[in-house]
Symmetry: C2
Subunit: 303 residues, 2 copies
Amino acid sequence: MLKVPEHQVAGHLAIDGKLGPLVDDSGRFYKPLQGDGRGNKELAFYESFSSDTRVPDHIRKYFPVCYGSQLLEASNGSGLLHHLVLQDIASSHRNPSIMDVKIGSRTWYPEASDNYIQKCLEKDRRTTTVSLGFRIAGLQLYEGKESGYWRPGRKEVQSFTVYNVRSILRRFVSSNSSIGNENSDCSFAPSIYGGSAGILEQLLELKAWFEDQTIYHFHSCSLLILFDKESVSKGSTPVPEIKLIDFAHVVEGKGVIDHNFLGGLCSLIKFVSEVLSDSKESSIKDCVESEKSGICTDNGNCQ
Amino acid sequence: MLKVPEHQVAGHLAIDGKLGPLVDDSGRFYKPLQGDGRGNKELAFYESFSSDTRVPDHIRKYFPVCYGSQLLEASNGSGLLHHLVLQDIASSHRNPSIMDVKIGSRTWYPEASDNYIQKCLEKDRRTTTVSLGFRIAGLQLYEGKESGYWRPGRKEVQSFTVYNVRSILRRFVSSNSSIGNENSDCSFAPSIYGGSAGILEQLLELKAWFEDQTIYHFHSCSLLILFDKESVSKGSTPVPEIKLIDFAHVVEGKGVIDHNFLGGLCSLIKFVSEVLSDSKESSIKDCVESEKSGICTDNGNCQ
């Protein structure tokens, strides 16, 4: 039984009779192959990537599993259409908070047409892509059983400034994200961004690979960052996850590192590590203050 | 007594009645302040940089010393003009081989005018700037007492391809650079690119700073790489040197890392480390072969 993905935060949605991806209950994600050649390019990437022995195992885990392609009824009712069959990343999370971060200070590639380059460049300049080396392309924050998800609309996302990005990276790991931007407590930062299995360590592992790999250049590709806020709130071990997605514009590296992706990744790493170190500082401050007053804070970060 | 610099490999030259920098015998370099505001921006950068306590000492050594500005007779005979007074980097080398590498996959900055951006973008796409994240903007290779320097003309430099860049990075550290591109022996790679005071270590030290610093964004800035081939040939300790130059387009970092410079720097690091590891491999091969034949190569790299 195919249905519209519940947790898709960016890209074309399969609603209102439009063409978009579908999911099933067994954890698979069906992405329609777009007719302009992009779909076939993405399929070709997955085929090349899965058989490339130069990609180390510890890097493969950052990519969705691909199960080939399959003919399916398209979501827009246009009949049978080839779909890329991928792992449904969100399916392993109960109430996932998700950020889709498009990496790189340019989304175009040298071989593209002038028209395509100008179109991308305009959007790159309008968003934080040029200034930050990445832009948030979509997100949802789980705020709790009652309020559900905060999922800003496409226009709002596209107008995010540097200030907004910084604030969202804080809200993303805050227990009080629904109250407002200014007072985000970042109380989940140590367990989601920090720690040996946290987002920062995963980003650093990816960075080390990007400093060396010259096989692919990942243009206009996104990092999906996911975690389950409820499991963190309940004290169970969180499993923050990173996956690279959207490979329709990947080109051969030809012996050159992907300096565009790497630069943006380093910029994101700096932002995430700043949220983390701010949260550590404020939890030390909390400790000092609670020691003075004789009470202990209950966020468990007072070491 | 002011004169035209002997070792200037890029930028405007003070010849044929044109405006350009001058040097004296005491090791100072006089750069005319251009009237379009660039000169004043560069002076302002040096003033801000020299008094900024956030810049660590081990990073300052990668920047030329600035002695302020001075009114001097311009090289084009137009009368008195303000000049930036800088350390003449080449003056401490007897027969310097020099590469001027403009770092970054874009030379423009978000705040610039549309016209300026299009002009830069066009040149960035025409050269290796977009593809490699850096371009060689000028160079001279010392080839020996008889042949003197190889210094390709501006047009030749601007037409360098990825292949040319790779080949020049090899020729730069070869004892047989004059023979031709294909057979570069890279025999100086271990002592110039390698070692604890070599170019690679210096680039890595700079990289670590760029992963963290959010004070400046260095647009259209160059890395000057210098060494004295004669002193290496004679067996004395070489002092390969790196200096950042050209700060007319530096803008405030505003809390964001310079991902454009960092990405290009990482790409250059990859190229340099490949020349170095190739040269190590071939010297091991030499060793094995000379052991077989009972003779030892004399390049001193046979460990």
